[in-house]
């Protein structure tokens, strides 16, 4: 990949980021509704309100506020959280690893699940298992992650599956003085398999809730490309050579059908990341999604602002990575 292309894509992300910052500003300060009234409880005196107004610079003109806001963002200052009285950036960075591990696990589950469904569907092309897989994918896609999460909780409670945790990240019985918040990676490196097991078990249902809709999309796209690949000459050749149908689908065709799936999966990954907001809340999972809902409930304006921007930066970064990997996989797109 040429350095020029890379630079161009990076530069294109800057106006998008700026636009995001502008919209967050507009939404939180200009939309009808007073941010101070939103932050403060009933019982506050006019003096309290005035004090907060000055503290957050809201007594200045909108233009002045905007300049201060962009200046702070450019220096990485997100302000101080009102509810937790800590630096917003520190708070977010502390929780971010939790969400990153959850999203990557969800992605892995989606790829395994969707990949298996696609291969089975392509193997049984035109027969009843394919129709069954299509129906299943339609169902998995129609139900959003939020409802999958609640359905899983319902199953666990009704079937009394007490071994499957439905809240938290790690069992209270385990003490683990983590250096980083990447429990999964750290427990693996320190060979703490009790921690690893507990973290994986707690992660299973939230990750699965996030994974199912994406798995459905992967299975649809991959199956279409697999079926297309099955008509190609090299597959005919493999057939003439007498390879089994399973081997042809899973080894020869799969390899060539992956490119469109990878691209699409990357784009859909942003939706998965966005889904953590509710899924983490439902499973009391301590990541930035859960934190975002709490910030809204606590009317913690600086924290809300920081979190919305963090999600936006993650989305832009993922899209950038997808564009680049696509260019890497497909030389024709490099100069597009």
């Amino acid at each position: 990949m040429s350095a020029g292309f890379l630079l161009k894509r990076l530069l294109m992300a800057i106006p998008t980021l700026f636009g995001v910052a502008v919209i967050v500003f507009v939404l939180l300060r200009i939309v009808p509704g007073d941010p101070i009234a939103m932050m403060i409880g009933p019982g506050a005196t006019p003096a309290d309100i005035e004090q907060l107004r000055v503290t957050y610079g809201l007594d200045k003109s909108i233009a002045h506020q905007f300049v201060l806001y962009i200046g702070d963002l450019a220096q990485g200052h997100f302000g101080t959280s009102i509810s937790m009285r800590q630096d917003v950036m520190e708070l977010i960075l502390g929780r971010l690893p939790v969400t990153i591990e959850l999203c990557l696990m969800a992605m892995l589950l989606a790829m395994i699940n969707g990949g298996a469904m696609a291969v089975i569907g392509a193997y049984y092309r035109g027969r009843w298992p394919e129709a069954g897989i299509d129906g299943l994918a339609g169902f998995m896609l129609a139900i959003p992650d939020f409802l999958w999460a609640l359905l899983f909780i319902l199953f666990v409670v009704i079937l009394s599956l007490s071994g499957l945790p439905i809240s938290g990240r790690i069992s209270h019985a385990i003490s683990f003085d983590a250096v980083t918040n990447f429990y999964l990676i750290e427990s693996l490196l320190r060979l703490r398999f009790d921690v690893l097991g507990s973290v994986l078990l707690h992660m299973l249902l939230p990750a699965l809730s996030l994974a199912l809709p994406l798995a459905a999309i992967i299975s649809r796209v991959l199956k279409t490309s697999l079926n297309e690949a099955m008509t190609q000459d090299y597959v005919q050749l493999a057939r003439v050579k007498g390879f089994s149908r399973l081997r042809i689908v899973a080894r020869e065709a799969l390899r060539n059908a992956l490119v469109p799936t990878v691209t699409l999966t990357g784009v859909q990954f942003t939706f998965l990341v966005g889904g953590t907001v509710l899924v983490e809340k439902i499973f009391s999972y301590p990541g930035i999604g859960n934190m975002a809902i709490d910030a809204v409930i606590n009317r913690d304006l600086p924290l809300i602002q920081g979190l919305v921007l963090t999600f936006a930066v993650l989305f832009i970064a993922i899209n950038l990575a997808v564009d680049m990997s696509y260019a890497l996989l497909n030389p024709r797109m490099r100069h597009g």
Partner: protein
């Protein structure tokens, strides 16, 4: 046979599509339930009776005959709340889908037809909008605007107009390349007239499909907002707030959550089926 099928009026084809029958049938049922709520609900949906807390469904051991699907943490009848909840779900989904459709279609038509800097500006705006986590943004918006029916509808419309804008823009560009638009330009029709009287009717089938699908999304977003406690005040029973209460007391009373979740899922599946069925029937390419 192909000509025969094409000659049948669209509504006849629509009526024979099983997806439209199932999806549309369920939707009609829901509309009837919402309209007749005061007559068919066995109890007042906000009537609390602390002596009747956590009653299980009637077929369970401690069920009461008067409360078919049991009562919630405040002793309110679950079936009645479910029936009244259909009203909110329908109002929000129809209004929010129409509002998002109006914004998105207007911008999409403009971007696709005018092109040039207008298209670039609108496309850029869509791109920036897509960089936001939709659910979080709607939650924040409602928190800023204050809870209430209009806030929920505005929040969904402000978040989801991009879906319409992208599709309508692409379709308008395709329509613009057709001969009928070139003829309209040649005989000197004003642009506004071409857009509204010539192109819009041709985009309409697609728009109808998008509106149906958007209604399904709006039902989910409303449920999410009520789940978080940000949709309507507690006087109004909503499916999302029922789910929220159910999550809180899931260990004591798992049945609190079952019915509202099923209601949301059934509505969303019905709207998806209707949308897919309409797509099959209305899309000329698919029809061939």
């Amino acid at each position: 046979m192909a000509e025969l099928a094409a000659a049948r009026p669209v509504w006849r084809q629509a009526a024979s599509n099983w997806r439209i029958r199932i999806g549309g049938g369920f939707l009609l049922f829901l509309v009837a339930v919402a309209l007749l709520a005061p007559w068919i609900a066995p109890h007042d949906p906000i009537d609390q009776d602390l002596l009747m807390q956590y009653l299980p469904p009637v077929w369970a051991e401690k069920g009461e005959a008067g409360f078919i699907f049991g009562t919630d943490n405040l002793g309110r009848d679950i079936l009645s709340r479910l029936i009244y909840g259909a009203r909110i779900a329908l109002i929000v989904s129809v209004c929010a889908a129409l509002a998002a459709g109006l914004i998105g279609t207007t911008l999409g038509l403009l971007a696709g037809y005018v092109g040039g800097w207008v298209d670039q500006a609108i496309s850029r705006l869509v791109e920036i909008w897509m960089a936001f986590p939709a659910v979080l943004l709607s939650i924040v918006l409602v928190a800023v605007m204050g809870t209430g029916l209009h806030s929920v509808i505005i929040a969904i419309a402000v978040i989801d107009w991009t879906r319409f804008c992208r599709v309508v823009r692409a379709e308008t560009m395709a329509q613009k390349a057709q001969d009928y638009v070139a003829s309209a330009v040649t005989i000197g029709l004003p642009s506004r007239r071409i857009l509204i009287r010539e192109i819009l009717p041709n985009v309409m089938p697609l728009l109808l499909v998008l509106l149906t699908l958007e209604m399904g999304i709006a039902v989910i977003v409303e449920a999410i907002l009520s789940y978080v406690g940000l949709s309507l005040s507690s006087e109004f029973p909503t499916w999302g707030s029922m789910i929220g209460a159910g999550r809180q007391y899931v260990n004591q009373a798992p049945w609190l959550m079952v019915l509202p979740i099923m209601a949301v899922i059934a509505t969303v599946l019905a709207l998806n089926a209707l949308g897919d069925g309409l797509k099959d029937t209305l899309d000329p390419v698919m029809r061939k």
